[in-house]
Structure formats: C-alpha cells, structure tokens
C-alpha cells in the first residue's frame, strides 16, 4: 500500500480528478509553480494553463468566477492560500455559492470545491493562522470537511470534487508533510466520521491536526486506566452526529477538541446536539477544549499556549472522568 505525504495525497486526488473529468479545473494564485506549499506542482505541465489557472490576488472575484464557471458546466477547485483570506470572498461564497441552488428552487447547481490551508503553525501571526470552520458550518448550502490523514485527504477531496454542492476543503498546514498510508482507490464519503481509537470511558471528538494530539492524550490516559474513544468527524458539515451520539451512549462522557477559538466554535454545536439526544446518559458535563478568545499571537510561546495541547486535552478528560492525575514519578 502506498504511503505518501498529505500534500502528495491532495495532488494525487487533483491529478486523478483532472485526468478522468475534463471539466475539473484549478484556480488560484501561483498554481502553475506549485503554490507556496508545492501542492499543485507539475499539474500545469500536464493539463495546460487554462485548466490550471493562475489568478491575480482577487479572492472575491476568483471565487465568484468559479461559481459562474460551475453554473456553466465546469467543476472548479479554487485554492485559497490561507483561510484567513477567504474573508475576502465571503460575499461570493455565502451569498452566491451557498444559496444559488436554494434560491433558484433547485435549478442551479454549484459543483465547486474550495481548498483552504489553515492553522497556527510557525508563528505566522494573526492573519495567517486562523481556524474559521465555525463560520462556514453556519451557512446552509455549504459543506465543510477537514481531513486529518493523507488517506482521508485523498478520499474526501475526490468526494468534494464529485459533489454537486459547494464544499470547503480545509487543510491544516501542520499536517501537510505528515505521511500516511493511502490505499489505492480509497473512498471517503462526506458526512461519515472515523473512529480512530476504541475505548469505553470517554468519547473525544477532535478536529484536524488535534486528532493526533487527542490520540497522544489517549495513550497517556491509558496508562492511568482511562480508555478513550477518539472520533475524527472528518466532515464538519454535514456532521456525523449519530456516530458521536452512539459513542456517548456507551461512554457517557464527551470532550470536544478543536484549534478554533472555543467561543462560538464547533464544540458548542456538537455539545448542544449531543446533549439534546443523549443527556440522559451523560455522567458529566460535556467539556470543550478550544483556543482562547484571542487573535492568534505571533510569539512561538504564545502560539503554543494558544493551540490546545495534549496536556489540556488529557486534563479535560480527567475532569469529566473525575480521575485527577495520578503522580507515578
């Protein structure tokens, strides 16, 4: 089974999609030279500069153009260099892409994919580090996915491109150069969570790069006899709520972890939805572990304090299980 980096998995998915379907096109800045992270390297040579199209720095119009192209029969994949700059395209994304199918009473389809790199890594500061998925899941008509492994990146990108709705594909740059197995022909449907670790004592739902941190925390907790089930939702909208609820019915405890600011984040949405269905089995309040209510600071120490750590995750689990740290050394 081939093993590859997350960025390579993305490139492979794009390449295969473009090969099988001539209506798939890529739009974004510096794509013909691979972009800042090399994701699209080599694709322009293979598919030409109309299908791999460099755009000026005009996010609003580029997203709008992609919507119009989708309406006219293409399947565009737009690359937004940093999700922070998706803010420049919010009108076209929210008012147009998300709503045209509905407003037209089903006549129009917008088979658009927007790939946006995100995350607080490397001390890039407040304009290059945000996690904005909470804004996006709030928009009826959009779909939002955040794969945490190369295999899911490949599978979900294919699914996104094949979906006739606008899909935002969020890529954490801290995951870009991680490696993982990517089975040939892997399929990952939108809306299906993945169980990363089995356990009966607590359910941890983690998003994006923090899936790895949650697993690390789970390993540490296991040493103290706490077995966590770690769920990677993979899709944020639609969310696989049944999978989470089923898990909580068994464990009775839930901790939700994300790098986005805790206030107004996905954690609140998941917590509210789960308690509405499963409050009778909850043995402890649902706890969210998110970033503090601040812009992402640049200083490495502060950035580190901003992103939820393995320790914070483990501490949250200990709170809900009522088992404080046992000092063994």
């Amino acid at each position: 089974m081939p093993e590859m980096r997350y960025v390579d998995a993305i490139r492979t998915a794009l390449d295969q999609a473009m090969q099988t379907d001539p209506s798939v096109v890529l739009l974004g800045e510096d794509l013909t030279v691979g972009g800042p992270f090399g994701v699209t390297r080599g694709l322009a040579e293979r598919y030409g500069e109309w299908r791999v199209r460099n755009t000026p720095i005009s996010e609003g119009t580029v997203v709008g153009l992609a919507v119009g192209a989708a309406l006219a029969g293409l399947r565009p994949v737009v690359e937004i260099m940093f999700v922070d700059f998706l803010t420049l395209a919010m009108d076209q994304l929210v008012n147009h892409a998300a709503k045209l199918h509905y407003m037209s009473g089903g006549q129009l389809r917008v088979p658009l994919t927007i790939r946006a790199q995100y995350g607080a890594v490397g001390g890039f500061g407040a304009h290059h580090s945000q996690s904005l998925e909470a804004w996006l899941v709030h928009v009826p008509g959009l779909k939002v996915v955040a794969p945490a492994t190369p295999a899911d990146a490949k599978g979900l990108l294919e699914a996104a491109i094949g979906d006739d709705n606008p899909v935002i594909f969020l890529e954490h740059r801290g995951l870009y150069f991680g490696r993982g197995e990517v089975p040939d022909g892997i399929e990952v449907p939108i809306g299906r969570a993945a169980i990363r670790r089995q356990g009966d004592d607590v359910t941890i739902v983690a998003i994006g790069r923090l899936v790895g941190s949650a697993l690390e925390a789970a390993a540490a907790l296991a040493a103290d006899g706490i077995e966590a089930q770690v769920i990677d939702p993979r899709s944020l909208l639609p969310l696989d709520l049944p999978a989470i609820v089923e898990s909580v019915r068994r464990t009775g405890r839930l901790v939700v972890v994300h790098e986005a600011v805790e206030m107004g984040g996905m954690g609140g949405e998941i917590a509210a939805s789960v308690q509405a269905q499963a409050h009778d089995v909850l043995r402890a309040p649902i706890v969210r572990v998110g970033a503090p209510f601040a812009p992402v600071p640049a200083a490495p120490e502060l950035e580190q304090a901003f992103v939820p750590s393995v320790e914070r995750i483990a501490a949250a689990v200990r709170r809900v299980t009522g088992r404080p740290t046992v000092a063994t050394h």
């Binding site: 030279v33 001390g123 290059h128 600071p297 640049a298 200083a299 120490e301």
Partner: protein
C-alpha cells in the same frame, strides 16, 4: 541623483539605509536557528523608503504591508524592539503578539502592518478621512506592492480618496518586474491587464507618476510634491517606484544569496563576487546612493566604513537584545483582546 537636501540630511539617510541593510542581514542569519515565521526583507529597497518617509512629520501616519521592517526603521522605530517582536518576545513593539507581519509603532506613526495584500489601503484612506474631517493638515501614506493593485480594495480605496479629495499618498513599490510565478504576457505584469500600473489611477484623476525607485532624487522630489499637495488640501497622489527585486528575496524564504553587502563595493569593483556583479554594480540602490555621496564629496571611505561599523554593531546588539529578552508568559495571551 541625490535629493536636493543639505549634506547632513543626505548622510543621515545613508546611515538609515545602512542600518536597515544590516538589520535585514542579521535577521536572515537569525532565521536559520530561530522561528521567526514567514518574513520579508527590504534589502534593495532602502533607497526608496528612506527618502520618501523622511518627508513625513509628527502626526503623519503610514501603513504598510509584509515588507515592513525598513519602513519602520526609516521612521525611527527601535531596531532592538523590532527584532524582539520578530522573535515574539515580550519586549517587542507589539509585546510578542504581532510578529514580523504585524509590526506597529504608533508613536512613530505606524499604527499597523496588515498582512493581507491590499489590507492597509482602506485603512490609510480612513486616516486621511479623519485628518480632513478634523481639520488637521496631516498626511496618511499607504505603502504597498504591485500585488495589492489586484485586490478590489484598491479600487474602492482610490475611488473614495479621489472623490473626497483626501490627504493620502499611495506609494506602490513595484518589485515584480520579473517575479516569481508570473510570465510576460504582453503586459509588464501578467496579473494586471494594464500597460503601466499608473494607468489604473487615470480614471480617478489622481496625479500619478512612475519613477526609478533607486533614484533617491526622484523619490524625494515626487514624495515632496505629494506631501505638499496633501497638506494643502489638494487630495491624493499615486507614486509607483520601480525596483529590481533583490535576488535573496526571490526564494520563498529570504536567503543571503548575494552574501553580505560590503560597502567597499561602492568604490572597489574588484571585490564584488562575479555572479552578483549586476546586483552590486548597478541594481542595488543603496550602493548607488553611496557612490553618489562619495562622488559629491559628502562622505569619504573611512567615514563610510565607520558608520557601517556602527550600524553592524547596533544591529548585532539588537539581535542580542532580542535573544536575551523573555518570551511573554502564556497568561498574557489574552491581554489586549479588548481595550
């Protein structure tokens, strides 16, 4: 050509240019071993920013974008505190919260750096709007690159500045004469469908000029006109400066591709590395400025070596200060979210 200024002012500008050069060289070396985030250096463009910003007074403001270190130093910000900020230390200008991309020093008339291309344009126009409403004869300058002109924000900003006749100066440092990812496509830049960037300003009747950014006299002269126009209520101006991008700024992360600048290159061509003869010989505006000062007799070699030595030592101290400074404590992360 040298600006029409007294010798001691020209010499002071040379000093500032050298200080910026040495700051950026130290930073590139520092970045090898320390996390500084993604940064951009002003090497090669000092001869634009220094004479231009020297014309601003107290109470004037300037906004800039990611290539900002030189701009802040030019207006008097403390390099030690800038370096500390770039390293994310608590003693930095932004207390470690901003980093290189958001350096700010309100006391030096630099309220903020924005890292989204085109981001500072509306804000600079806003300050100009306030100055006009409050009846102050202050000026707002927006410093940006050619890329910013692709953003819709540029169009909206210049429209408002023009029809309200606001005291704002748009200073566009075009260093993309042959840049990364672009190819010649009938237009000078393949991302803007205009023959000259100044064409974009024409419909708004905003006075616009394009000049050689390494010609200090041209920079000084045009900026002086623009500042005077703004202060007298004559509205906005647009100045495009052409500059050849320093080879070390071509890769995604800056690198000392040409090696350190030796001030002696200004008078001893033999010392120049062959493969960078074009850069040091004709393209580096700082050396051009220096050569002109030497020729005019305003400085001599010994003196130049001396002030260069001071600049190097100042910037070496800045690095030490930055390295020795503490990081902010995590509890500080939430301070300053709100006023």
């Amino acid at each position: 050509m040298l600006p029409d200024l007294p010798a001691e002012r020209l010499v002071a500008q040379l000093q500032t240019m050298l200080r910026i050069r040495r700051f950026e060289e130290e930073l590139i070396r520092l970045a090898d071993d320390h996390a500084v985030g993604h940064f951009h250096v002003y090497i090669g463009q000092e001869v634009t920013g220094v004479p231009a910003l020297a014309l601003l007074e107290d109470g004037d403001v300037a906004y800039t974008t990611h290539r900002n270190h030189g701009h802040l130093i030019a207006r008097g910000a403390d390099p030690a505190r800038l370096m500390a900020e770039i390293l994310g230390k608590a003693t930095g200008t932004n207390r470690g919260k901003g980093g290189t991309l958001h350096l700010a020093s309100a006391e030096h008339g630099f309220p903020t750096t924005s890292a989204s291309v085109g981001g500072p344009l509306p804000i600079a126009v806003g300050s100009a709007f306030a100055f006009k409403e409050l009846g102050r004869d202050r000026v707002s300058v927006c410093l940006f690159g050619d890329g910013a002109l692709e953003e819709g924000a540029w169009h909206e900003a210049v429209n408002i500045a023009a029809y309200r006749s606001l005291p704002v100066i748009f200073l566009c440092e075009n260093n993309s004469l042959e840049a990364l990812g672009q190819k010649a496509n009938e237009y000078p830049s393949s991302t803007l469908a205009v023959r000259r960037l100044t064409d974009l300003v024409r419909p708004f009747s905003v006075p616009a000029v394009a000049i050689d950014g390494s010609d200090a006299a041209a920079v000084h002269g045009q900026m002086k006109k623009a500042v005077r126009r703004a202060r007298r209520g004559g509205g906005p101006s647009f100045i495009e400066t052409w500059t050849v991008r320093w080879p070390g700024s071509r890769p995604i992360w800056p690198a000392l591709v040409t090696g350190e600048t030796d001030v002696a290159y200004a008078w001893d061509e033999g010392r120049m590395p062959d493969e960078h003869r074009d850069w040091f010989g004709t393209q580096d505006g700082l050396l051009r400025f220096l050569r002109e000062l030497l020729e005019a007799g305003h400085v001599d070699r010994a003196w130049v070596q001396a002030i260069d030595g001071e600049a190097r030592s100042e910037m070496a101290s800045a690095v030490r200060y930055a390295l020795d400074s503490p990081y902010p404590v995590p509890e500080e992360a939430l301070e300053d979210v709100f006023a």
